[in-house]
Amino acid sequence: MAYPTKITEFFGEDLFRLLGPKTERQSWHSLSFKEQETRRKNIPVYISTRKLGKNPSFTDILFECFKQLTLLGDKNPLMGIDLPYYESLADAGEQLNMPIMNSALVHTNDLVKNAEKQRDVFLAHIFMDIVFQFQPGLVFPGAGRKDSKGRIFVNDAQHRSLACMILGIDSVPLNYIESDEEYWDVQQYAAININSLQCSEFDRYRIRTQRADTSIEAGYEVDPEDQIAWNMSQVFDQNEILVVEKGDRDVGTNAKVLTGIGNMTKYWKEYGHEIATRAIEINAQLFPTSVFQTANSWGLMEFLKQQTHTNSMELDFEIQRAIKVMLPKDNQGNRLHSMIKTACKDQNEVTTLRWEPVVIAEGIRQIVEEYCEADIEWQSPKWPEPKESYDFFLDLV
């Protein structure tokens, strides 16, 4: 095994203490999305490494991360998970049938961290974004500084290096300068993390959709998050909804333009494909000349979730027809959610709302109860905490 001795001595050769009996382990991707979400929430977002001294080794950091996970007891999110194991990046490339980067490698035993200058460890990021989606060709060379004692201070690639170590890989690509001046640690860190352009929610959606397309074309498994982006893109295309970057002045206020893709993705995951698709369709058809209002879709999803009427096509049609009686203009998309929220805030004398989707869903219920002429038994939305529900009434003609 290529795990550091300090790790195997405490956690066991096959990480028994961390992952449990080998025969009971299953792969992360075999879990349901819901189970993945539950476990994901249990992964500590952030692990402090400052208590490990001024220059902890990467082995010490990995030990601390594993220790924090095992301390969670029955909430340890890795218990029962079959982590992949690779001897090296080349071995990962072979096993996964993927190309790898052609870079000079350094041994992970030599890696240390300038704890004052580097950020702490974001553990959820390591597992969710790297370990469970591992592709050796994406382990780009990091950046660092080698001092006269032979220690390599990692100023970029802390997380991917730790991810590689978790997967058993003991050599990672890293470019470094040779110096004893800490000055370079700060400079390297700032150049990469402060002066670089961050990825926007729109960019995430755009690239995930494209990656799903190219993965399908190349015969690779599609990443589950990419699949969601791709599924959403199909629904948006069918409804002629244009997803754009926030602040795009050329098209930002045009009909059916969606700038809140980050929120939309969140809602899609929460309510699932079927309900999300229906809510998006209703919203797009109701207000075809409005900027696409994600808040309407959010409230519609929450409302649809509670309905028990078996004919969903009829249900969606009647919701649409009833709302259209009240908001007859195609450009009134903003009105639906804003008037509901205003009524709720005014009548409850609050400036901010909790349970926003439930508030909007309750407003939609009042509208359909008033304006729908079909014989449908509408179900009320459920307040997450009954004691803290809002009472409000829309003024309807």
Partner: protein, 166 residues
């Protein structure tokens, strides 16, 4: 036609009883007026609220204007014509024509703006409900074309130009 008042009055009453149910700014000015309308269902009030925004009236001024505004007017031949107070989708006489002139309420400065200015009135006084009345469009039209002396001179000849069909 202007003698179609019975049908127009009936349509106006029907619209009062069954107003447009949609939230539409052309019909209900804004969301606040819509909410108020949902409570009172009063088209005359919507029309008065139009003046509230125009002249920045207080609630007291709105109430004063509403209280003094009649639901219609009776012409010189004794015909009662309801005011078509609805806006947008609630408007009954939406096409230009003689009937519209007789049923469309228009707000009128009792002492005209120019005369009031000459008298040294402030803008607040000029636009106070005490100096504003709703009259029909036809009355307002006449008022625009004639001054008091001209109207007294010409009006007795108008009926003879259009003898009533017996």
């Amino acid at each position: 036609m202007c003698n179609d008042f019975e049908r127009v009055n009936k349509l106006i009453q029907e619209k009062k009883d069954n107003p447009f149910r949609g939230l539409d700014d052309a019909t209900y000015i804004n969301e606040s007026v819509w909410r108020e309308f949902a409570k009172h269902r009063n088209l005359k009030r919507v029309r008065v609220l139009d003046l509230k925004y125009k002249y920045r009236w207080t609630d007291e001024q709105v109430e004063r204007m509403y209280a003094k505004t009649e639901d219609g007017w009776t012409d010189a031949t004794g015909v009662y014509r309801m005011f078509d107070f609805g806006k947008g989708e609630n408007k009954v006489c939406s096409e230009d024509g003689v009937d519209r002139q007789f049923h469309e309420p228009q707000h009128d400065h009792i002492v005209s703006r120019s005369e009031a200015k000459e008298l040294g009135w402030t803008e607040k006084q000029i636009n106070d409900p005490d100096n504003i009345q709703y009259i029909s469009a036809i009355q307002n039209l006449m008022k625009n074309y004639f001054n008091k002396e001209q109207w007294e001179t010409v009006s007795p000849t108008i009926a003879s130009l259009f003898p009533v069909d017996k």
